[in-house]
Symmetry: C2
Subunit: 429 residues, 2 copies
Amino acid sequence: MTTTTAFSTEDVEFIRDFRIMGQFGSTENGGVDRQAATTPDGEQRRWLAGLLEGRGFTVTSDRVGNQWGLYEAVPGAPFVVVGSHMDSQPTAGRYDGAYGVLAAAHAAFRLVEQWNAAGPDGRPRFNIAVVNWFNEEGSRFKPSMMGSSVYTGKLALETALATTDAAGVSVRDALDAIGCRGDYEGPDAAFCAEIHIEQGRSMEREGITIGLVHSNWAANKYEFVVNGEQAHTGSTVIADRKDALLGASMMVVAARELADRFPGVMHTSVGQLTVYPNSPVVVPSRVNLLLDLRSADEGVLAEADALLHRRITEIERMANVTVERSHSHSWPVTPYQPEGVELAAKVAADLGLENKPVMTLAGHDSTNMKDIVPTVMLFVPSVDGISHNEHEYTTDEDIVAGLAMLTEVTNRLCNGALEPVSTAGETAP
Amino acid sequence: MTTTTAFSTEDVEFIRDFRIMGQFGSTENGGVDRQAATTPDGEQRRWLAGLLEGRGFTVTSDRVGNQWGLYEAVPGAPFVVVGSHMDSQPTAGRYDGAYGVLAAAHAAFRLVEQWNAAGPDGRPRFNIAVVNWFNEEGSRFKPSMMGSSVYTGKLALETALATTDAAGVSVRDALDAIGCRGDYEGPDAAFCAEIHIEQGRSMEREGITIGLVHSNWAANKYEFVVNGEQAHTGSTVIADRKDALLGASMMVVAARELADRFPGVMHTSVGQLTVYPNSPVVVPSRVNLLLDLRSADEGVLAEADALLHRRITEIERMANVTVERSHSHSWPVTPYQPEGVELAAKVAADLGLENKPVMTLAGHDSTNMKDIVPTVMLFVPSVDGISHNEHEYTTDEDIVAGLAMLTEVTNRLCNGALEPVSTAGETAP
């Protein structure tokens, strides 16, 4: 989108801060490598803390390493939680998560400035908390969305802290190493808002600036272990082989065949696959892999799931292996609160921003938050839909428009736009 | 084979030493993990050195870490080189390679004793060198058969020493760390003999005790790199994906289909496959894999090779990836010297051991040695054909029979049985 937008001073400042942000864990190809609780993650957190503290926010870490920037305009009132995550996949892009945290910080700065300028009459009904959720990506420590899962009570704190990475380092030790494990419990949330890049290209294709997320795709995620038996790759006759890698490869191909069978409404993938002993002349005895099925349609997902398991039984026979489902994790299609989507649509219209309702295919921290408080989830476009890739890109015009959108949504949430009518009525003029 | 063989004192001593040998790098399941130039490899080498020195052998390491035990019965005469390798795959069996080295040592002990007992008239025509070849397996440092490749001039010493393992440690540094890099050039070889387990089950099935190896299967070994592009496993639409793991998986399946197309004469495998970035929610951008085609028939191999490359072109299109052949290594069907096979057949008949000519499907150090000197390669059976597996097993009866066979073959080689007639004539009675 090549528009001739004249950016305000505040917008320029935001763009400048976003450029700085991309330096933490920067890679040669213009991306970032900033996995959860690594050194660059710690450095970036300290930078964000300085930015927030400079604007009068109190910065603290909770017990699972979520970083909070709190501004209490109304002592004792609950908070509107706004933010995303700053950890990244290995060799990732600069926008995923990071944009949402910085936009939340700058939205909060703008609102605090407005409140201060307006004097006592301009005080909001709710306080504001900027959040940087810990380990949304799940690449170093599984599962993903760890910080928001603990905050929303879906994952036990101790389970999260005891989780180890591939090198055996625990979340607890990794957070301690970067000085980011605190004893804060987290704020009392009333509402939540998050903005993120789309990571697809439907908005770009239709010239949409703001996506109003109304629900998420359903997903079934499996950890499979394929068990075979070590043998000599040269001398062992084919009929005697129990090749775990052959079985695993057939599963990778089967996953893609399922996506092809339900075009457009089913996404499948194997992102992680690890071979043992992974030696040139040894038939692999074990392969661990993560296989995901995702769909906008729960009926399709159930059908694909049954087909997958039937296919796995065939693969066990064909490759002479056994397949074990060691872990699974699934979620249904769930809606964001319709009143939140409505509010966002009204704000977008008021700001003159092209918008449309969208679903989110990826998981986000707001997917957890919406289960405890009314939550507004917003998207800005991704150029060519590229994500989890160093070439991830969103135009400055779009990140600035998204910031304006998030600022106004947060403003209205802070002013009680989604409060139940009875309560709102009490304070209405 | 449950026979009621009464073992001699020397046989019992050999079996006892073989049990001790299996303790170096032993695993819980009765196997060994003794990759090249690791601590257990170094410990076992020191143990072997003590064993050889105790019998009057001079022990030394050459510049690529081949370990030599030399016995000069005839000062200045060339050597009959007898041995195999003591390194193993990760979680491997106790017989592969180790049996051949210990059998060589005990064969040499028996011959030296005979020569000493016989006095000056019993002196052989050639000296004897027991060898433990460095890094035959190639699991830690590629390529396999490294030590014998350097000794036979097929691989440059400096190239071998500069080779690094997955952790970036060079062969030079790994050998220095276990104190096994010497400055010896290696002996002047006249002939060679090696005994090894079959690693297949054709001999066991036919009740054969000694396999007379007459040639090796041909092989084409490839290192492929499949290049795709990182993307989000959830949100990226299927048509936009360039999934390197999907392409690699199709190649694994294609390799097996080739083996099925030429039953019995074609073995295929992918033993090693590494995924990048190997993260749960990232479509893999790169996969490195090693794919081998092996056949007893060079025509079949050539046909399979053409089919594989045609299939790869299809896979590039179907998976939207590119496949790059970064390295390849191949060898034809090559014969062991027929006079060596003949000699071995005569010895087996003289000893009353059931024998048959066989091909070797796996590579061995003798495959290198046969290209510079007449070489005899012998097999003993593998129970159930199991190899590169902790459950690798050969009966005590068979390892003892193999030792007797190797002793007599080596004896005749030392006495000039394969010398050209003109030379042999000079010393004939």
